[in-house]
């Protein structure tokens, strides 16, 4: 124990990093598809999750800009951010021109290409018309550097892709429903899942409120960090609710039943040892404990106390004739068998290559072993003194209940009734493996995000295509051809838009074609243009082919918001880039297209993980059946076959009822409900084993009742969780354990019951 405590101290205080992991993604297995996809996803996730977006809105533009100034300088005082992007520096504004203008004879829009190919004379017409048109803003300067006025359209198309923002006093501003909005974005100084960083958020909210109050502006924010912080907070409050709730319940029960401080101290000792060992062991093996494991782990309190109850109830029943070692012997077989069967259940989950599950099962298994060890090693020593002689509480009610089990009708009727009820529920079972159920998304944050999306036209889709090639130029060409397909899809309404490097940087091949087209135009139309205007001479193209290169593009501040799309060279010597898809209405044609193309793969982490969840759901079902068979074999080896079946029946029925009732509440099931089944199996077997191994039915019933109550308490509290997955897990365990408790006496042979009752009455 001391060793454990020291280890915990060392983990908590001497490690720089926080041993508690809050990133939901850490629960998930690595991408099994291929390393390219995993790399692409990590890359995008990193660049996206570190961003925070703010929008300030006001009816009055000047007031909005003043608020933006104040907010910008206030943000600079916050340690949250490594970079704040508020005003666009003048050199960034000019960078577009600096990058593209010198390369104007290699750049054409799709419309211009078509025009120069089919009707080059139209370009000449266009020049003449624009010259006379006072609104077109053509100056002598522009005409001198670009006689056919080609570049303005290209630049116009480029800026069209940058969203619906304009510059006002250096700020990016836009209008929405008659209000002016200004966009400010920032990069976090650390991971959004860092606990230290999340601690700074309240200070940020204060800054925001200050700006709202002073300037009477609307101020919205969105970013992964806000969701992450909400997740951390809700998990923290759930852990404390469940933990404190079950602890208080356990303490009250102990005081009510045993009415003395010693059992209470003993029980707390075994809970403490269980949790401590579980935490330390998990951190030692995984390096971190996930919040999810902790939430479930908190409910371990109700399970790890069971062994203590059996010991303490026996002690209470024995009264003055108590011998601690003898008492332990009496329950030793039962609790050891109970531990083994529970461990079979838990460790079954280790087989699934799912970091989250592995951790959960390991956490629980270590906790149970530690609690068991505490009872076996310490209790006989600490509880050597007999307790005050008192009649067991609730004796009459328990007798009546046990007597009921003497009726053959009841013995057959109750399980059948429950089973048939559950089968109705099973008939309506629906599965939903969507990973998004794992996260409780707060309404208020979601709304802000949606408003920001509507105002900015930016989208934060997780759907993307990864495009690969053997070299950079080939990659740019592949991107161009994928973009062409996506543009067709856009016209068909399959998706609203997409973002690809090729929209900002044509491949060298395309640039060469453009240059040739422009050369043709000068040769063909130069004379025509000269005749239509009183020029001194004919326009000549004196620019040799000089393409815009990927290096120039990446080096320019222009590409800053786009760079994350360029993955560059991967470990497998392939070059890769990402195309982000936005507002996809129908994903099927896009997936089909990606499947038909060797260089394109569709990537959606959420969908992929959800599919994985479905797969594991099936696998856990298989595991459950296997674990049940193994437990059955153990029981068969210890008892005869019919007895073994009688022991197995209550937990199996309990499991079916748990699933059935959960589906009747209208919640679709997922992997976590099946994990609940593992618990029900493990705990249910404990109950029947104790009855089978009992020497006094009513003490057994009392201790089982007590442990069922504590289990119900802790898991019942899980049902209150905001997170859908935890909530339905709670409901399944709640109903399952209740049924397991109800049916546990089935494992006794009828004669057994009467004899023990007689014995007690004597």
């Amino acid at each position: 124990m001391l060793l454990l405590a020291v280890a915990l101290g060392q983990q908590l205080f001497f490690q720089r990093s926080n041993p508690i992991e809050t990133n939901i993604l850490a629960l998930l297995p690595e991408n099994r598809q291929d390393p390219v996809a995993q790399q692409a996803f990590d890359h995008v996730a990193k660049s996206m999750s570190n961003k925070v977006i703010f929008l300030l809105g006001s009816d009055d533009a000047d007031n909005m800009l003043a608020a933006a100034d104040a907010f910008d300088s206030a943000l600079h005082t916050s340690p949250l951010f490594s970079k704040i992007t508020a005003k666009v520096p003048v050199d960034t504004q000019q960078a577009w021109g600096e990058l593209y203008f010198p390369k104007r004879f290699q750049l054409l829009t799709a419309d211009q290409k078509a025009r120069l190919t089919l009707h080059p004379e139209q370009q000449t017409q266009y020049v003449i018309q624009s010259l006379y048109n006072p609104f077109s803003g053509v100056t002598g300067q522009e005409l001198a550097s670009d006689p056919f006025l080609l570049f303005r359209d290209y630049l116009s198309q480029l800026t069209k892709q940058t969203g619906n923002f304009s510059l006002n006093k250096g700020y990016l501003t836009t209008q929405y429903q008659g209000k002016q909005f200004v966009l400010i974005s920032a990069d976090l100084a650390d991971s959004p899942y860092s606990y230290q960083l999340q601690q700074q958020l309240p200070a940020l909210l204060n800054i925001e409120q200050g700006i709202r109050d002073t300037y009477k502006v609307e101020l919205l924010h969105t970013g992964v960090v806000f969701y992450a912080e909400h997740g951390t907070e809700s998990a923290k409050s759930e852990i404390s609710t469940i933990g404190v709730g079950s602890l208080v319940g356990v303490i009250l029960l102990l005081l009510l039943v045993y009415r003395s401080p010693l059992p209470l101290a003993l029980a707390l000792l075994s809970i403490g040892c269980g949790l401590l060992a579980a935490f330390v062991g998990t951190v030692a093996i995984f390096g971190k404990v996930h919040l999810f494991s902790l939430v479930f782990g908190a409910s371990l309190i109700g399970v790890s106390i069971d062994y203590a109850f059996h010991f303490l109830t026996d002690r209470l029943a024995a009264g003055n004739s108590w011998h601690a070692n003898k008492g332990l012997k009496q329950i030793f077989t039962a609790i050891t068998l109970g531990l083994i069967t529970s461990l079979i259940g838990y460790l079954g989950m280790l087989i699934a290559p799912f970091p989250g599950l592995q951790q959960l099962s390991l956490f629980s298994a270590i906790g149970l072993v530690a609690a068991y060890a505490t009872v076996v090693c310490w209790y006989p020593v600490l509880a050597a003194k007999p307790s005050q002689s008192r009649p067991l509480p609730l004796t009459r009610a328990m007798h009546a209940w046990l007597a009921l089990w003497q009726q053959p009708l009841f013995r057959k009727g109750l399980p059948t009734l429950l089973l048939s009820l559950a089968l109705v529920g099973l008939y309506h079972v629906e599965y939903n493996d969507d990973i998004r159920q794992l996260q409780a998304l707060p309404q208020e944050l979601k709304q802000q995000e949606d408003t920001i999306k509507a105002i900015t036209g930016l989208s934060s889709s997780q759907q993307m295509l990864v495009v690969t090639a053997n070299n950079q130029q080939q990659l740019l060409q592949n991107l161009e051809s994928v973009s062409n397909t996506l543009t067709q899809f856009q016209h068909q309404g399959v998706l609203k838009g997409f973002q690809s490097i090729s929209q900002y940087l044509p491949s060298e091949k395309t640039q060469r074609q453009n240059h040739e087209l422009i050369q043709h135009l000068y040769q063909q139309q130069g004379a025509v243009l000269a005749q239509s205007l009183p020029t001194a001479g004919q326009a000549k193209l004196e620019h040799d082919f000089s393409p815009l290169t990927i290096a120039q593009f990446i080096d320019s501040p222009v590409s800053e918001p786009l760079r994350f799309l360029w993955l560059g060279k991967l470990a497998n010597q392939q070059h890769a880039a990402i195309i982000m898809l936005s507002d996809v209405a129908d994903i099927a044609p896009i997936i089909d297209f990606a499947e038909q193309s060797a260089t394109v793969s569709y990537l959606n982490k959420a969908d992929e993980v959800s599919a994985l969840f479905g797969e594991y759901r099936v696998r856990v079902t298989e595991l459950l059946i296997a674990a049940s068979l193994v437990i059955m074999a153990v029981l068969w080896w210890r008892y005869d076959f019919t007895r073994a079946v009688r022991l197995m029946l209550p937990p199996v029925i309990a499991g079916i009822v748990g699933i059935g009732v959960t589906s009747l509440t209208g919640v679709p099931l997922n992997l976590f409900n099946l994990l609940a089944l593992i618990l029900i199996l493990g705990i249910g077997i404990d109950y029947t084993l104790f009855f089978a191994e009992q020497h006094q039915a009513d003490t057994t019933l009392l201790s089982i009742t007590l442990s069922a109550m504590t289990t119900l308490l802790s898991f019942g509290l899980l049902a209150l969780s905001q997170t859908q997955a935890i909530h339905s897990f709670g409901i399944t365990v709640l109903t399952g354990i209740m049924v397991a408790w109800l049916l546990a006496p089935l494992s006794m042979s009828p004669a057994n019951t009467s004899s023990s009752t007689k014995e007690h009455n004597a």
Partner: protein
Amino acid sequence: MQVKLSKKTRQFSKRKLAPLYLWGLVASVPLTANVQAADTQAANAQTTDVQAVNTQVAKTQAILLAKLQQQLAEHSLVRGNFTQTRTMEMFSQPLVSQGQFLLTQQQGLLWQQTAPFPVKLTLTADKLSQQFGDQPAQVMSASDNPMVFYFSHVFLSLFKGDTSQLMEQFDLTLSEQDNEWQLVLVPTSAPLNAVFRNITIRGDQHINQLRLNEVRGDNTQIDFSHQRTTPAALSAEEQRAFQL
């Protein structure tokens, strides 16, 4: 004295992202022509003593400008003829065009060029259409072509004499000579200051002349004549033209 602006004209002041091909020009000019942002200039100006002395003058100017704007806005509709002369270094002679115009405070500007070739242009707050002869009109919307509209909006403000709008991008100086007022506008920020040395507007009841002087010495001059406020109602054809 604040002049209330309509929502529509408010949109005109937007300096669009990557405004214009003009950026391309700025990039091609040696960067020694250091561009100063309008707001820093204003900030600097405010700290000087000269400015303090001139505050009174500036106030008077502001009142006069507001009055001018009001006076021009009184006519909810103006019709007239125009002659546009573009003088450019690269051309041996100026490019001259002629036609009729119709300006309404509500809808915008109709620009019907008759020579050297017929073309009908319609400019509203959020749309621009061009129609050559009897071909179908080509319509562009501001949201799709922010860069194209950037200059169009400035032009429309000049045309209306919308001084409060123009102040965002120009230093305005109002003077009077020969029974005419003259307004000289010097652009204060990129990209306009990289292209225009100044813009002058002259007029009395109406605007009589608009002249854009480019940095390189090229210029565009538009002379208006025959301005009238009748017929005050739009013809069916004019109505149609504005309904883009």
